[in-house]
């Protein structure tokens, strides 16, 4: 089966001689360099591998090479940009580069670079690094009573992956709602600090230091139990 480019739910923007493609289904953004863009746009179901190689060679210069097309089709397929996937055996980029052995290979080889578009909380995150494992507080209303330090925006009570809190000068005690999408890495120190700050907030809620409804108090208790469960066995 000849490869066919996917069109549904894709937004395409020409930037110079490259393509920026946004996939609305999974919020992935792809950059296709010139060669990859040319190849992708020729994937109409009518061109086979050899015809694509010839078209690519003509467009970017150089000898048509089917192994380059195989590699590019795999990358396009892996990115979800093809409706019909290529059937050829997998060829790695390193294999192709070794086989081609010419200096301008970077400019003429098709290349697809993909990133996951940031969710609003991630785009805002001061420490938007991928954590190995996170404390999941999604869907829960919870608060912490902690200290926002003078430096290091986003830090509260020593938790370094807390999103949504600006640093303050000087350090002050603050009760804050844990924002949706809080990005807290699951580790022993964060477990200890978070549980203490949540307990302190619960105490403030119970003693009237922090006005809260019975529903909010119960929600806080549930959230604390959830964190305890997740932190079991974390050292």
């Amino acid at each position: 089966m000849n490869p066919r480019a996917r069109n549904a739910e894709l937004l395409v923007e020409h930037v110079g001689d490259e393509l920026l493609v946004y996939d609305r289904l999974n919020h992935h953004a792809h950059r296709l360099n010139r060669a990859a863009g040319i190849l992708w746009q020729r994937c109409d179901g009518a061109h086979d591998r050899d015809a694509l190689a010839a078209a690519l060679g003509e467009a970017v210069g150089g000898e048509p090479d089917p192994s380059v097309v195989d590699m590019a089709l795999q990358e396009l397929s892996d990115a979800g940009l093809l409706e019909s996937a290529p059937g050829a055996s997998r060829v790695s980029r390193a294999q192709v580069v070794r086989a081609l052995k010419f200096a301008a290979v970077g400019a003429t080889l098709p290349m697809v670079i993909t990133l996951v578009a940031p969710a609003p909380a991630e785009a805002d995150s001061p420490t938007a690094q991928p954590a190995k494992k996170k404390i999941d507080l999604s869907g829960k209303e919870a608060w912490v009573l902690g200290v926002a330090p003078a430096s290091g925006p986003g830090l509260v009570g020593g938790i370094t992956a807390f999103t949504g809190f600006p640093g303050t000068t000087p350090p002050v005690p603050v009760t804050v709602h844990i924002p949706p999408g809080a990005d807290i890495e699951l580790n022993a120190e964060n477990c200890k600090n978070l549980l203490k700050m949540m307990q302190d907030a619960l105490e403030a809620m119970m003693t009237g230091g922090f006005a809260a409804s019975q529903m909010q108090i119960q929600s806080q208790r549930d959230a604390i139990q959830s964190v305890r469960d997740q932190c079991k066995g974390v050292s």
Binding site: L115, P118, G154, V174
Partner: protein
């Protein structure tokens, strides 16, 4: 209790708070916010002051959700400012907000995309010290042509004096003209790094901007067109940097 309606980049919001704390809270209003009459608001914020004996504390609500409570009004103001800026960034119908520092230089904008905490403010300060015009140190709004608006943090208002009763944005610097993007700098601080830039393609630059665009998921079409327009006419480089002043000199010499 006093309620103020403001508009910033096409987004209307309402803030209600005790009258005596408005002066301090106004420092948190988004840049270039202007007063508007009462009416529907995209977001409503409410600051409640409570007294326990001699102690006064403040609670900030966004809609019905409690966002923050502190005895220090400045802390509440910081949270309010952040919530307001992001409400505008997420909802603006005609500007695309990118996490980026920006300065004006020789008739165009130098844009430094990156998340909060990446050292943008330090680099922007150094660029301004080198003669550039300050546009933004955190969020840079782009219009549909990919031009950069200034988004300067506002000045603090006093309760009395000539600024009383006016919103912070009108005092925080006049709206500078939007500038086309001339240079996109993708960089991050590393103590022992030296400036050694490599050129990026326009597509690469657009992808860097996209990675720092707030409403990209909710408005992908507008985001792509705007970022494409911004990157198409610009030069783009990537390098780690050491001291901001050293990097700033090199960056300014690129335009």
């Amino acid at each position: 209790m006093r309620t103020v309606f403001l508009r910033s980049f096409g987004v209307r919001f309402a803030i209600a708070a005790p009258a005596d704390v408005f002066g301090e809270l106004s420092a948190a209003f988004p840049p270039h916010a202007v007063r508007s009459g009462p009416g529907p608001a995209a977001r409503r914020f409410f600051v409640a002051g409570e007294r326990t004996g001699h102690r006064r504390s403040f609670s900030l609500y966004g809609g019905r959700r409690l966002l923050c409570r502190s005895a220090v009004l400045g802390t509440v103001a910081e949270h309010l400012g952040r919530a307001l800026r992001h409400a505008v960034a997420a909802r603006s119908p005609y500007a695309l907000f990118v996490h980026a520092g920006a300065v004006g230089w020789k008739g165009c904008a130098i844009v430094v995309p990156g998340p909060s905490g990446a050292g943008k403010s330090e680099l922007v300060n150094a660029l301004v010290a080198g003669g550039a015009t300050y546009y933004s140190d955190d969020l840079a709004p782009l219009d549909s042509h990919g031009r950069v608006f200034s988004y300067r943090r506002p000045l603090r208002l006093r309760q009395d004096g000539p600024g009383a009763g006016r919103c912070a944005g009108t005092l925080g610097g006049e709206l500078a003209p939007p500038l086309p993007v001339g240079l996109i700098v993708c960089t991050r601080y590393r103590g022992d790094a030296s400036w050694s830039p490599r050129e990026l393609s326009a597509g690469d630059a657009a992808l860097h901007l996209l990675a720092n665009t707030l409403p990209v998921r909710s408005r992908p079409g507008f985001s792509l067109r705007t970022l494409g327009a911004a990157a198409r006419g610009a030069r783009a480089v990537q390098s780690e940097r050491g001291e901001a002043a050293d990097a700033a000199r090199e960056i300014l010499s690129l335009v």
